[in-house]
Amino acid sequence: MSLSRRGVVLLAAAGLFLGGCGGQGSTGDSGGGTSSSSAKVTVEWWNISTTEPMKSFWAKKVKEYQALHPNVTIKNVPIENEAFKAKLSTVTQSGKTPDIYTTWGGGVLKQQIDAGLVKDLTSEAATWIADFTPASLQAYQFDQKTYGIPYDIGMVGFWYNKALFAKAGVTVPPATWTEYLDAVRKLKAAGITPIALAGKEKWPGHYYWAYLAMRIAGLDALKQAAIDDDFTGPDFVAAGARLKELVDLQPFQKGFLGAGYGTPDGQAATVGNGKAAMELMGQWAPVVQKDAGKGLGDDLGFFGFPSVEGGKGSATDAFGGGNGFAVGVNAPPEAADFLKFISESANHRQAVEMNALLPVLKGEEDAVKDVNLGVVAKTLAGASGFQLYLDQAYPPAVGQEVNDSVAALIAGSKTPDQVAQAITQTAKSE
């Protein structure tokens, strides 16, 4: 009896102690902003690098930074991608953010900025922000102000199986949409599944519509449409119609409507195991192909999205996005200083050389070792324009409506015209 009572007292004491610790941590957090630089400061850093090599790379950088600044503690919190999104949306809804957190820029970041949660880094980072390439910064800039620091950038393109293309008699990667459809027909005729698609996840499908809209309507038209909330122009309907041409060839793997992306029977694994000839995917595709499937090794190749005959967009316009870090509005100045540290050429280059990240700093392209990633980096460096993923660039509701309607178009339940109408309707209601 007395023992259990003592146990209760001990537990209560432990609770008090823990509570005290928590309190102290948070006061140190907010107080750091105003006190002198020698005071103890804790910077809480949420990132999504839960896998190697980035996980230990960041941990190493944290140690190096703390060695240089003994008064600063960087609290490194890696959270898995999907869990991160859910967790961040919960804390932002309560009006708070971590000091530094992963962001993909675009409409989601804009909502957070409008809610007054994000620090404007324009003047604080003025001296070193010029080191970044314009394409990598674009997603985090609104009204000539910069709200995020990029650490990775990439683009979407076709990752294809050279052996299967050769088997079907396609020797040169298609450069126009007509050639592309021909290549799909040839692959089908040779008994090869031309394209793998993760229909369950919707976002991979939106790449096709977005690229077609970029090629046909052009980047400026996409931007204007987002401002006017009007996607009903003939060029956007045409993008849907072109996609319908492809869908009508039935190029996707069996059961693609239920397929995931990174699952053992998903899009990446289907290509990685040589069961389909290509996929339209971002720069991470080779890693996931190898992770979920066997990987293609030297058979893997990359070509950009073909141009569309008569389209207003340039074939060198790139579509993609990157990863960056945003700083919470109440974060201490050390938060931006830490971002400056990891963005220093000597530090960022190391990650690029490990093939873990792609160049975001000017003149970093030569550090890329992997052949295919080298092609991506070069294409990006020479891109005439850059469009962020539509489901990131637009407010979340509009972005999801793009994904949703394009998925319905691919499944055959919406016409190109209905897709344009549905996106417009959602954009108008936002």
Binding site: S89, D114, L257, P395
Partner: protein
């Protein structure tokens, strides 16, 4: 009738009868009653506080936000839209489809899943070798988490390499092969199959427990009267299982209304919304589209449907079962 009885009794103490204990007993009884109330309050308080904070308060907040257009950011909502979210909901074919699909799942659960569970429970009630093993085996799926079940069945029902199609192929039934979760026409059937696999063991255990509470003598008496096994089941076992069946139907319906995790892992509501449930739609709008006001409206409708069903069911169906409990409580007091 009662009035004269009361007036008869009342004058007795006031007439100055020798029962002096009467007036003295009243404060002590009051104190006892007060002490009882204090005890009840004290013991209920922690639960009430938790219930209030974790159940009632969120419901109130959801009801409040459901009349705003709100993206969930920047303090409290301010863009009041009245009942717009609700009219929008009932004009949205996905949400109306959710209601239809929910109804289909409820009807299928009651007409297929529960009878199956009952049949297996009756079988496992017989004396047979390895009975305990079979009980364990059929109950095992219920112990698995929904997410594990979902991942397991996405692999089994995978169109190319999945176990289901491989087995159909090996058995020479190629024509029965299907894309299961990837076809709008088959996805609901596949989903129901997984639901049944997951939950029938739970209902089976309920029925088994109910069956064992029925005294053997009743069955014996019936068989002496010449009742066959079916007649015995129909006129003795089934009526006496009534309370158990009513509770199991209740749990099954509420579960179907709130179904989320299994669907989320299996199909995320697709293809093209053909397996979406109310909870999935709510999640899509709340977390993916960040239209928290509209998502709250969906959750309010979900809550009201569950509440109306639960209250109606208790009032009209469970009345006989709960009545006993309430009257005994009254007697003890």
């Amino acid at each position: 009738m009662t009035r004269p009885a009361l007036t008869d009794e009342r004058p007795a103490p006031t007439a100055g009868s020798p029962r002096t204990a009467g007036p003295a007993a009243t404060p002590s009884a009051r104190r006892r009653r007060f002490g009882g109330l204090a005890t009840i309050t004290l013991f209920l308080l922690p639960a009430l506080v938790l219930f209030g904070l974790l159940v009632l308060a969120p419901i109130a907040v959801a009801m409040y936000t459901s009349v705003f257009k709100w993206n969930g950011l920047g303090g409290m909502p301010s863009d009041f839209v009245g009942l717009d979210n609700f009219t929008r909901m009932f004009a949205d074919e996905v949400f109306v489809g959710d209601l239809r699909r929910g109804l289909v799942l409820i009807v299928l659960s009651i007409t297929v899943q529960l009878p199956l569970a009952l049949a297996i429970a009756m079988l496992l009630n017989q004396k047979m070798r390895g009975r305990a093993f079979y009980r364990l085996l059929f109950f095992a799926p219920y112990v698995l988490s929904e997410v594990i079940t979902g991942v397991l069945f996405t692999m089994i029902l995978s169109p190319e390499a999945g176990l289901a199609n491989q087995m159909l192929g090996a058995a020479g039934l190629e024509s029965l092969r299907s894309s299961w979760l990837a076809e709008p026409s088959t996805v609901m059937m596949s989903l129901f199959l997984v639901m049944t696999w997951k939950y029938f063991g739970f209902h089976m255990i309920l029925y088994l427990a109910g069956r064992q509470g029925i005294p053997k003598e009743l069955g014996e008496a019936a068989s002496i009267d010449g009742a066959g096994s079916w007649t015995q089941f129909r006129y003795v076992t089934l009526p006496l299982l009534g309370p158990t069946i009513r509770i199991s139907v209740f749990l099954s319906v509420i579960g179907a209304i709130q179904l989320f995790d299994l669907v989320w892992v299996l199909t995320s509501g697709g293809p093209i919304h053909s397996s979406e449930t109310m909870a999935v739609t709510m999640f899509q709008f709340g977390f993916k589209r960040s239209q928290v006001g509209y998502a709250s409206a969906i959750s309010v409708v979900m809550f009201l449907i569950s509440l109306v069903f639960a209250l109606g069911y208790q009032r009209f169906v469970l009345r006989r079962d709960t009545e006993g409990a309430i009257t005994t409580m009254r007697d003890q007091r």
